[in-house]
Amino acid sequence: MIKKVRSHPTQNELLLFELSSPGKKAYQLPPLDVPAVDPAEALGEGNVRAEIEGFPEVSEVEAIRHFTRLSTWNYAIDLGLYPLGSCTMKYNPRVNEVAARTEGLEWIHPYQPDSLSQGAMEIMAALERALAEITGMDAVTLQPAAGAHGELTGIFLVRALLESRGNPRRRVLVPDSAHGTNPATVRMAGYEVEHVASNDRGMVDMAALERMVDDDVAAMMVTNPNTLGIFEDEIAGIARILHAKGALLYMDGANMNALAGIARPGDAGADAMHLNLHKTFSTPHGGGGPGAGPVAVKAFLEPFLPLPRLLRVDEGWRWDYDRLKSIGRVRAFHGNFGVLVRALAYILAHGGEGLKRATLDALLNACYLRKLLEPYYEIAYSSPSMHECVFSDRRQAALGVPTGAIAKRLIDYGFHPYTVSFPLIVHGALMIEPTETESKRELDLFADAMISIAREAEENPELVTSAPHSTRTSRVDEVAAARKPVLKWSPRG
């Protein structure tokens, strides 16, 4: 029985281009206080464009209604549990949004003189300090724009270091449970990917690792807890094996939400790692970003960090561009500053105690859900779960109800689905990360829904495989979308 939602009318809406009618406008500019200039004269005929074919023309009320109506077609954290495994969809305090909109922070130009940017630089310095303390590392760059960008920066650092030692080496090890960005990153840094098998405990197979690591291995990328939500308890051993052969341990810190305040990757032997500020340190995901992927490193990698670096001098902070060993910039300007502000606001709000409490609540919620669901769904690995738990659809798939169908059916029950079919090493994975900000009530409702779907899979599989039944948009044909892609609106439809 569905307890969480009821149906209600939601407004239909055309595309902007269909709404558009000539002459409508939603803007007004102040009158020009200087003489107008003839574009053709100033730029040359050939450089001036004709009107923008097909560009919309709507009124202000049509504009706000358009986006308001669209918004009502979305599910969101503000509406309920969003248990996407590996994505840490937690509630992000609204005060972060207000902080990021502070006039003196929002409207400052990256090229204004350091003397007029001290507040911004202090914020970045404070965040670097806090992240170093939380990760147990020595230095932090805030430049990368997202997790994958941080990974790339991290592997660049590894390669730059090894090159400076005379041999960049050829291979980077990646567990078969790794997130897709890991192998993709390795390739972008010019390395070959070598997959490391997981053992039956869902952890890196140490024996296999021993065999694989030689002095042609540049590094290993380890996610800890890994994408199964399992803590790699041999992590220190992994570091030892790598270090013994002159290879580095890169840690994917996307799951730091499971460790903040209780364990520090730096203490466990990681040489470099990135953090997903938009996950652990709370920037709303905004339908796909923005985020920030700071990279924290041990001292010996610090000289290679992207430039510029913050430098403390008598007058205050200065940007230091004079860094010979730096890999250079990984993007223009100083990083996603607005996201950095939100992250610092989050850390200030929690303090050390609060960060630990949040971590514990994240573990509690994940373990609680696992406990409630284990009788109905097959847990992928028996090892204890940290901040997320991963099930397999084996039992339901046998009834013709794969993980993807269960996910769609969850929508009818008023929830956003979990992460589907990842990690790849699990047969039909159901990857569930509730995060610390969910209440017991919401978790119980979710468990009820999952259990009820398990029953439906037995009694009425068709009901599940044809879901969702309640949404304004029924099952979307993704195959057709990919077969002949229509990626933009055009007048003839």
Binding site: L43, G104, R187, D267, P284, N365
Partner: protein, 424 residues
């Protein structure tokens, strides 16, 4: 809940971790603060930056008016707190907006396909170069020195470890445009891409067409970058390009000390399979209603892993949405009028000053001064931030400031700048 788990203390939740990895002390961070203290903290930091200054800085980050609708829209929790729209049936709002964004990007750039956003303009340009390498199977890139210096630095970092060889072509010291003869000289059988930016870093409009002919004659692709999206309201789109990489900060995104912004990649239809990043496509739902979903995921890391077109995952969707609202508010005529106001303002000041280059310029230009730092120092006293000294990036252009005037520039401030610069 602990009882349900048969645990006594919260700490038991990680009892299975090896003791040697545990942090056996409290984090060394100040105690948690209330939201009022937090806002006080950031307001105090904000006051340590320039607030309420008139600014003539551009150089890749532009100060334009932001329509209030933009904030009203992106503050809605349904946009702000949703994830990447993997589950199409409950993400049609975001997906529809992305589809509209992609369409408007094509309309502006003259390309056939545009993605849902990249981190920023500089990383978009680097990805464009990598894309060109994949398409052509070649490994050399020729970039004009008139491309934003930090974009070129980013390109170098990306290129360094991917076997990309980068050459830089000079510029005409008269016009300030890329020197196409020098550029042509550098083309060879393994040139994957020629990279131009227009308007270029000096604010000058480049001649895309001849550059395209050179590139194509050499079997290379032309990649055109832009940093000032407002210029697309007035300038001819770079139709002759094969790939366009740009920065949308000008579309309602606050300078915010350099980010978050939103990059964009657009290209010709035939290169579709090589474009990185998210793409929203039109399709139908099982009832035959129009619907949208993320598509061609086989290009992406979560499906293709090490064979993906890029490792990009989270991008800048909310910023792209802000840009979408901005484009909607201004619309066809508004974007044109906005661009014309920028043109008029820049030319008002530009004609009062001694300009270094003669090429056509949009809303910024290089002004010559015997003492750029001195000028800025005394302007600062009048709460005006002057132009950007070019010394660091272009030592050869001595005594010069890159000056930008958007629609927000006030005549009185421009007069003050002119007076200051002409008084020396």
């Amino acid at each position: 809940m602990l009882e349900t788990l048969g645990l006594a203390r919260m700490e038991d939740l990680y009892g299975h971790l090896p003791p040697d990895v545990l942090l056996n002390r409290a984090l060394d961070l100040p105690a948690g603060k209330s939201e009022y203290e937090i806002l006080d903290y950031f307001r105090a930091r904000g006051r340590e930056n320039a607030v309420g200054f008139a600014s003539f800085l551009g150089a890749g980050v532009y100060c334009h008016y932001r329509p209030v609708l933009v904030d009203a829209v992106v503050s809605r929790g349904e946009f702000l707190t949703s994830y990447t729209p993997y589950q199409a049936e409950i993400s049609q709002g975001t997906l529809t907006a992305i589809f509209e964004f992609q369409t408007m990007m094509c309309q502006l750039t003259g390309m056939d396909v545009a993605n849902a956003s990249m981190y920023d303009g500089s990383s978009a340009l680097a990805e464009a170069a990598l894309m060109a390498m994949r398409i052509t199977g070649r490994n050399r890139v020729v970039a004009a020195r008139t491309v934003h210096p930090e974009y070129r630095e980013t390109l170098r970092t990306y290129g360094r470890f991917s076997g990309m060889e980068i050459e830089e072509a000079g510029y005409d010291s008269e016009s300030g445009q890329a020197d196409l003869t020098d550029l042509e000289r550098r083309l060879s059988g393994d040139t994957a891409a020629v990279i131009l930016q227009s308007p270029n870093f000096f604010g000058i409009v480049e001649s895309v067409k001849p550059a395209a002919e050179l590139a194509h004659r050499a079997g290379a692709l032309l990649v055109v970058a832009f940093t000032e999206a407002v210029s697309l309201g007035l300038l001819a789109p770079p139709r002759e390009a094969d790939i366009v990489a740009g920065e949308l900060q000008s579309f309602a995104i606050a300078p915010s000390y350099g980010g978050p912004f939103a990059g964009i990649l657009a290209c010709r239809e035939k290169f579709l399979r090589q474009i990185p990043g998210r793409l929203a496509g039109e399709t139908r739902d099982s009832n035959g209603n129009r619907a949208f979903c993320l598509t061609l995921a086989t290009r992406e890391q979560h499906i293709r892993r090490e064979r993906a077109t890029s490792n990009i995952c989270t991008n800048q969707e909310l910023i792209a949405l802000m840009a979408t609202v901005f484009m909607t508010v201004y619309g066809k005529r508004g974007l044109r009028e906005l661009a014309e106001q920028n043109l008029a303002k820049a030319h008002y000041l530009g004609t009062k000053l001694k300009r270094r280059f003669t090429g056509p310029y949009f809303n910024e230009f290089v002004a010559v001064s015997s003492d750029p730092e001195g000028v800025n120092r005394s302007l600062k006293g009048r709460r005006i931030i002057g132009g950007l000294p070019l010394r660091r990036h272009y030592p050869e252009v001595e005594g010069a400031l890159l000056v930008c005037c958007t629609e927000t520039a006030k005549r009185a401030d421009m007069d003050a700048v002119a007076a200051e610069m002409n008084s020396r």
